[in-house]
């Protein structure tokens, strides 16, 4: 019997889509083999009705519905996860790859003596030894990592080419169980999260299903108004290459690349971005890639599905117009 535990992360009571995608991926893997069970741990106050009809497969969601878990204090979370692993007898723990899991997973790996495979993608071949893949050397190579310990921890990057939003939830059987309050949460453990400040109304590039990114060729901070307009139209997020951030045109939170964020949107629109390895390293899991660049030999076209050769200042206003037309007709 293989027992998997999926960690469901909430922020401000909303369970992250990346966590739900991870659950659905794990269900898909579990369905390939008999004798597996999947459960989940949700930490913090959250209305569980939001999970109705979005979780595929079957299993128990353990809910640590305590105020103490509202903010993601690492020491309390680490204990809770380690305790729940023991309680359900889990041998494998899955996280979505997020800021929180990148903090918790290495701690848990040491504490539980568990193999940690982070920032990876898994496919069907995973059953054969639990190996997973991750690009290394700025995307020049792809490495396969295999766990050596009986306990394993994965932080998963969703694969844009697999659509989990369509994961079949019909016939799924999910039960919820509220965990009794933990004894240790009254203890003041540090580091302690004092507060979180969410950027209101802005979607994070790492989570958006559509990303419109701009490079140095956008020319100025003002040049990004076009991309903001486009992002608004498409319900996406604005991203940027490093020079754009270094120039102060956009905040670092929007930087995509080796020293920025890794993204896996269904659609990635690269505007006036040359496509150096440090940038491409972070978009390897994107679905459809569109490049707009005035240089037909720009390396971004080597990874793009569609390309338009032209000046962004001329092409983007037209694209915005076309999309408005398209929206009207729908």
């Amino acid at each position: 019997m293989k027992i998997f535990l999926v960690f469901l992360e909430q922020r401000e009571g909303i369970v992250k889509k990346a966590s739900i995608d991870t659950w659905n991926l794990v269900q898909e893997l579990a369905a390939l083999y008999p004798d597996t069970s999947v459960s989940a741990l949700l930490a913090g106050p959250a209305d569980i009705r939001q999970l109705d009809g979005v979780l595929a497969g079957q299993g128990v969601v353990y809910h640590a519905n305590e105020e103490a878990y509202r903010l993601c204090n690492p020491q309390h979370y680490t204990r809770l996860i380690a305790d729940t692993m023991k309680r359900v007898g889990a041998t494998t723990l899955f996280f979505a790859d997020t800021a929180l899991s990148r903090d918790l997973a290495p701690r848990l790996s040491v504490r539980l003596q568990a193999s940690l495979l982070s920032g990876c993608t898994v496919d069907e071949a995973w059953w054969n030894g639990g190996a997973c893949q991750r690009p290394i050397y700025s995307g020049a190579a792809i490495a396969s990592f295999a766990p050596c310990c009986p306990l394993k921890i994965y932080t998963i990057i969703p694969h844009a080419t697999r659509s989990f939003s369509s994961a079949t939830t019909s016939g799924s059987r999910i039960t919820f169980e509220t965990l009794e309050p933990s004894l240790h949460t009254s203890e003041e453990l540090f580091p302690q999260v004092r507060c979180i400040a969410m950027h209101k109304g802005v979607r994070d590039v790492a989570e958006a299903t559509i990303v419109v990114a701009g490079g140095r060729g956008m020319g100025s901070a003002e040049g990004f108004a076009l991309l903001e307009e486009l992002a608004r139209l498409l319900g996406g997020a604005v991203g940027a290459s490093r020079p754009v951030v270094d120039e102060g045109w956009r905040p670092h939170a929007e930087q995509i690349g080796q020293t920025g964020k890794t993204v896996a949107p269904a659609l990635y629109l690269a505007c006036a971005i040359s496509g150096t390895p440090q940038h491409l390293a972070a978009i390897g899991s994107a679905g459809t890639i569109v490049a707009i660049n005035r240089d037909p030999h720009a390396p971004i076209f080597d990874v793009a599905d569609y390309g338009i050769v032209g000046d962004v200042h001329l092409v983007l206003p037209k694209l915005i117009e076309e999309l408005q037309e398209f929206l009207k007709k729908r």
């Binding site: 495979l117 050397y137 020049a140 190579a141 990592f145 999260v193 994070d204 569109v290």
Partner: protein, 249 residues
Amino acid sequence: MRIAVCLCQVPDTSSVISFVGGAIDLSRVNEVMNPFDEYALEEAVRFKERFEGSSQVTLFCVAPSSAREMLRKALAMGGDRAFLLSPTEHSDPFQTALILSRAITDVYGDALPDLVFCGKHSTDFQSAQVPLMLAELLGMESVGAIIKLEASLATIQVEREIEGGIESLEVHYPALFSVEKGLNVPRKTTIKAVMEARKKPIDFLSITISTSQFVSITSIKPLVKEKKCRFLPDTQELVRQLAHEHVLF
């Protein structure tokens, strides 16, 4: 203040990583200090300058002896002494963290350093595991990927980016941080600093560990890009294609 900085080497970004007969070829690679470690070192040196007199910045690096050159540069940037630790044959992040934790315990004795700084991740393997594993091994308070740090003698307030926002945390000494780009602007070394760095000690420390790897690499393959770009004449055609692929909205 007793401050430790963990540094590693990575291929510089202009290095060519190629494959010969299916195996990765790193012979044409030029190794430099991991870019994130420059921010870590800079932050440590700023602490030293603030609490002048008694502060010392000690560098730790698990790497072959060829890393001396990189450590010289780090000493020129403001480190006071450096320890070079030899890696196990196929070190994984856990073993690296274990070697670092043993070295830190050896050097500082029973007391822990007040602060340890690491980079957010190494740009070659990007595992982002060593810093928090090290903190766990040493039993230190820790926060990963910080973008802002404000310290008093009693507590440290830090910020880090989370998806869609910023998280503010309070930490006590002794603490370990891994640092994100943008925390500071690393200084350039001066000729005077480079000269002075020649006199600073780089010592080899031999640490043997018996714990085996947590993770092994089973294969490294070139990333094949099989995409072929379709060049489109105008945006009308682009919208048509994207609508057809159902990737819009």
